[in-house]
């Protein structure tokens, strides 16, 4: 691997370059673009969860002032796609409640909304099927699970190993349907002009939106431009363009020359922007008398929609987390009348590690062993699935350092401490975190010498609030042997070189590698003081080391809880996360990523649960008053730290992704702490008072 020239930029806690603009309201987000002469879109949504639209009466809506156009399902131009999530308004079949069946365009958002409310949508409906159960007769095995993992794995003979095991547990864990809920709801401004489509979109991937939309509308990619200057979070829900983006573009084509603005409402997010599938996870563990795991099985049941399959890779982390000669993982799906599930922060690892790390805690207790030591004892020396060595593997150090920092060894004996004077019972728990190192080929960066030691660095990547803009500037500065202030970074536009989506915690790897390559080439071809106008392009290739090493980030999370003896309320006054994620590019923004991840994990542990009505088929609690996300008052002290991990194999920067690992394991640490406090093992998230009251 090439080495950085090094200017000390990487590793410094550089303040967010766009921080001031954001907090002063000077960073325009998608919806704030192209306001002049724009019209506003309000969608029509299916009032049933399964059936067919039979009639749409628009007469009252047409009479509303300022209405420019009304689009109806089955009466719009044909889109070239077999993706039924994106085949917006192409038919009148209804696959889930709230699906788009039309749209109203009007000169004000209020009029669009009002007119939309006046369109009478009649349907022929049949009862929806939205209830996921582990014993459904129609469960099926998908061909692969997200993104391309094998559906099932099997090694050894688990049945015999369980029979022979000194200790055996067989537990079922459940996680609910969850919604990403970024601070900025999805928004698009679409504008057709002379056969070209331009979009401002709140997306995690400008180039991925273009790549998806261009063929849909029968356009070459160079006739579509997508910009995403600032994005207020995505957590996966903006990783792939959803139906809202297609609807905005489709509607804009009906009013050429006029920008169409579509801000998805918070309520609509609960149906059109993806969600995390509920999971039912059966885990069986066998161990020897001395506490060594001999067999691990992890069988997952989850849902997908009837129109598009998304198979969350829930059991995948179990394939390489702990050593055991006999192991099996499976994934089964039920295709239901539900909205289309998709990526939500750490798809797979997040729900899967709740189950695995709860089960490991249960097994440690079964074996009479300390949960920290039990995990370390069962660490694999190489990837149990492939036999490959790890590029770096520092889980044990995370666990030990965390245990010391947290005061783990001073904790009370397990379960049932007595309540304090106010009725609160203390407890502590631990869980491991993990996330794979993903790297996709294809991102390209262009470095241009501007003279006077300044460089323009261009890459069509998107900063969704992670701090990518700042981290990439640091990487460029280091690779060019200069200061952060000498770099003019241009991102977030398909007019710039191709960049992968901000997903899979791989943005910094994919984009940073391309920048690093371009910078190296510029220096090789033009020296360390290139003339103005000199430029070089770099491209990220597949990691040549990926066939030689298993690459993962690890972490250990500790949580202190208090459970109220009378009411079952759970508070989490303190958490500690210790991570091994390779080299940290920017400690300031990295800390925020971990903090945000652990907070979201805490929220998953205690609060988040979307409830589907079994008769009506919609998410009942479809706003932030009813779909609870942790408030400030729920979040106690969270301490974040990381190891100085060297991994020369992952990418030229030596960094592993940090966007998702923070949410992995938190819920298990909290559940394990609740068990320590109360003796009650909650195997179904979230851990709400009703599950602890007696």
């Amino acid at each position: 691997m090439t080495q950085d020239v090094g200017s000390g930029a990487v590793g410094s806690p550089v303040e967010r370059l766009d921080g001031q603009a954001k907090v002063t309201g000077n960073a325009p987000y998608a919806f704030e673009q192209l306001t002049e002469g724009a019209v506003y879109l309000h969608p029509l949504r299916a009032p049933v969860a399964r059936g067919r639209v039979t009639e749409m009466d628009t007469s009252a809506a047409e009479a509303v002032g300022g209405v420019r156009a009304i689009l109806l399902a089955g009466q719009v131009e044909q889109l070239d796609t077999r993706d039924r999530e994106l085949a917006v308004l192409q038919s009148r079949e209804v696959a889930f409640r709230g699906q788009y069946v039309g749209a109203v365009l009007a000169t004000t958002p209020e009029n669009a909304r009002h007119a939309a409310s006046l369109v009478r949508v009649s349907c022929a409906a049949s009862p929806p099927d939205v209830a996921l159960e582990g014993d459904r007769a129609d469960l099926y095995a998908p061909e692969v699970v997200n993104p391309r993992f094998g559906t099932d794995t099997e090694q050894g003979d688990t049945d015999s190993a369980f029979e022979e095991a000194a200790y055996f547990i067989d537990r079922t864990y459940r996680t609910p349907m969850e919604h990403n809920n970024p601070m900025e709801p999805h928004a698009t401004v679409a504008h057709w002009d002379g056969g070209e489509l331009s979009l401002y979109d709140s997306t995690q991937g400008a180039h991925s939106v273009r790549a998806t939309l261009a063929p849909l509308f029968g356009l070459p990619t160079d006739r579509v431009r997508v910009q995403a200057p600032h994005v207020g979070g995505g957590f996966g829900s903006k990783g792939l363009p959803h139906a809202n983006v297609v609807l905005a573009a489709l509607a804009a084509r009906s009013v050429p020359g006029t920008p169409v603005k579509f801000a998805v409402t918070r309520q609509q997010i609960f149906t059109v922007a993806g969600h995390r599938t509920p999971t039912i996870q059966r885990i069986r563990l066998g161990a020897t008398r001395s506490g060594e795991l001999t067999a691990i099985t992890h069988d997952v049941v989850e849902h997908t929609s009837r129109i598009k399959e998304f198979a969350e890779q829930t059991a995948v982390p179990t394939r390489n987390m702990y050593r055991a000669a006999n192991r099996r993982t499976t994934h089964r799906l039920a295709a239901l009348d539900v909205p289309v599930p998709s990526w939500m922060r750490a798809p797979g690892e997040c729900p899967g590690m709740f189950a695995l790390e709860s089960a490991v805690d249960e097994m440690a207790r079964e074996c009479g062993q300390d949960p920290v030591e039990f995990r370390i004892r069962n660490e694999p020396s190489e990837d149990p699935e492939t036999g490959l060595p790890f590029s770096s593997h520092n889980l044990a150090t995370c666990l030990r350092r965390g245990a010391e920092g947290f005061g783990w060894y001073d904790r009370n004996a397990p379960a049932r401490s007595s309540p304090d004077a106010a009725g609160w019972i203390p407890g502590v728990g631990v869980a491991a975190s993990t996330y794979p190192v993903f790297r996709s080929p294809g991102s390209r960066a262009l470095v241009l010498a501007e003279g006077s030691g300044r460089y323009r660095v261009s890459i069509g990547a998107v900063d969704i609030g992670t701090g990518a803009r700042t981290a990439l500037t640091q990487i460029a500065a280091d690779a060019l042997g200069t200061e952060v202030s000498a770099i003019d970074l241009r991102i977030a536009d398909t007019a710039l070189p191709y960049a992968n989506v901000a997903g899979g915690s791989s943005g910094t790897t994919c984009w940073g590698t391309a920048i690093h390559e371009a910078a190296g080439k510029l220096r090789a071809e033009h020296g360390s003081a290139p003339l103005p106008g000199a430029s070089a392009e770099g491209e990220t290739t597949s990691n040549p080391e990926s066939g030689r090493f298993a690459m993962h980030a690890y972490g250990a999370q500790f949580a202190e809880v208090r459970v109220h003896a009378d009411t079952g309320e759970v508070r989490v006054p303190r958490m500690l996360g210790v991570f091994a994620v390779g080299r940290v590019i920017n400690p300031r923004t990295a800390r925020s990523q971990f903090l945000g991840g652990m907070t979201m994990g805490l929220s998953m542990a205690l609060h988040e649960e979307a409830v589907l009505d079994h008769e009506l088929g919609h998410v009942v609690n479809q706003d932030l008053a009813e779909y609870h996300i942790a408030t400030n008052a729920d979040v106690g002290a969270i301490e974040i730290t990381w190891l100085d991990e060297q991994d020369p194999h992952v990418n030229p920067m030596g960094s592993k992704g940090i966007g998702e690992i923070g949410i992995v394991g938190t819920a298990a640490a909290v559940a394990n702490a609740v068990q320590h406090a109360t003796g009650v093992r909650v195997r179904q998230l979230p851990i709400t008072p009703d599950k602890l009251i007696s």
């Binding site: 508070r571 008053a625 609870h628 008052a633 729920d634 709400t688 008072p689 009703d690 009251i693």
Partner: protein, 330 residues
């Protein structure tokens, strides 16, 4: 948008007349609930009569040593007012446990009493709801009903009243002053809200055009302690699963006065008369609290998702009385 008239009322008479005259006019106070309803399509009034400029924003002591709270006093001001904090702590605690700081800064006393249920079916206009659209049915009865009523509900409606403030006022024996163009009347807080019965669209006993002008709280005898405890699914900004407002006075080792109200269990603040009866004259101890709570809750009828509310209410009532007793005896 749906057009509506807006009028800022200068005095109470004209405010009341304005709403009485226009069949689809409504009062607007803090707007923290009504404005949501306008956006969600739950209601579409033709005229909003803004009452926030009326001279009803004072908190005054009454000659008998009680307190008169104007209808437009903001929740945050009421919670912070010295007489409330000193003499009616339960009310201050209840107010501060409600909503968020921003909402409390807007919300008023009268508006808080008249806020409508947060039943998510009521709030989603594409679903059946007898409270929103009489005769369409109750989606919550066999739907998601974890947050719904276990006391006093009917097959027509299982919604709960969301207020914390009203629960404290019910335990404090508050009285609501109401004006119409014809007369003035007073209604005990405990009788302001209705049980749903067959007419769940009627939240209260108020007639069209009647305006709440004030709430009176009677004085509390020396040695009386009050508390409010709200149990919810997150530490702030959530409606109560169960809440308890309690007023307690112990004399000569026995309970001399006790007044209890539950929130989160019914279509109205639920004054726990049966429990009070059991407790009056009894020695304040854990077993008695539990028995009183169980007696009160013996009429509870859980739905599919909310049976936990019954033990939760019992435990919370016990915990509040235990803590208050400790305080009294200190």
């Amino acid at each position: 948008m749906i057009p509506f008239e807006y009028r800022r009322a200068e005095d109470t008479d004209s405010a009341v007349a304005a709403v009485e005259e226009a069949p689809r006019a409504v009062f607007l106070a803090g707007g923290t609930n009504l404005v949501d309803h306008l956006k969600l399509g739950i209601t579409a009034p033709e005229e909003l009569v803004d009452v926030t400029a009326l001279p009803l924003d004072t908190i005054e002591s009454t000659p008998d040593g009680g307190l008169r709270i104007g209808a437009t006093v903001r929740n945050s001001d009421l919670a912070a007012s010295p007489p409330v904090r000193e003499r009616y702590r339960a009310l201050s605690l209840a107010l501060l446990s409600g909503a968020s700081a921003q909402l409390r800064n807007r919300a008023t006393t009268g508006g808080n009493l008249l806020q409508r249920t947060r039943c998510p079916y009521f709030q989603e206009v594409t679903t059946p709801c007898n409270k929103r659209s009489p005769g369409t049915g109750c989606s919550a009865l066999h739907g998601h009903n974890k947050n719904h009523a276990v006391l006093g509900a009917s097959d027509s409606c299982v919604a709960t009243h969301p207020s914390d403030m009203a629960v404290a006022m019910a335990a404090l024996d508050g009285t609501v002053h109401v004006r119409s163009s014809r007369d003035e009347r007073t209604i005990p807080v405990t009788e302001l809200h209705r049980l749903p019965g067959e007419q769940p669209h009627r939240d209260t006993v108020l007639e069209r055009g009647e305006l709440i002008t004030a709430v009176d709280l009677p004085p509390l005898p020396e040695g009386t302690y009050t508390a409010y405890r709200k149990v919810r699914e997150r530490a702030s900004y959530a409606f109560a699963l169960v809440s308890v407002a309690a007023v307690l006075r112990v004399a000569n080792g026995v309970i001399d006065d006790v007044r209890l109200a539950f929130g989160g269990l019914a279509h109205k603040p639920w004054r726990a008369g049966t429990a009070e009866e059991r407790l009056r004259g009894a020695i304040p101890e854990e077993a008695t609290f539990r028995e009183a709570a169980e007696a009160e809750l013996s009429v509870a009828r859980p739905l599919a998702d909310n049976a936990f509310k019954i033990p939760l209410a019992r435990n919370t009532l016990g915990a509040v009385l235990r803590d208050l007793t400790t305080e009294v005896l200190r």
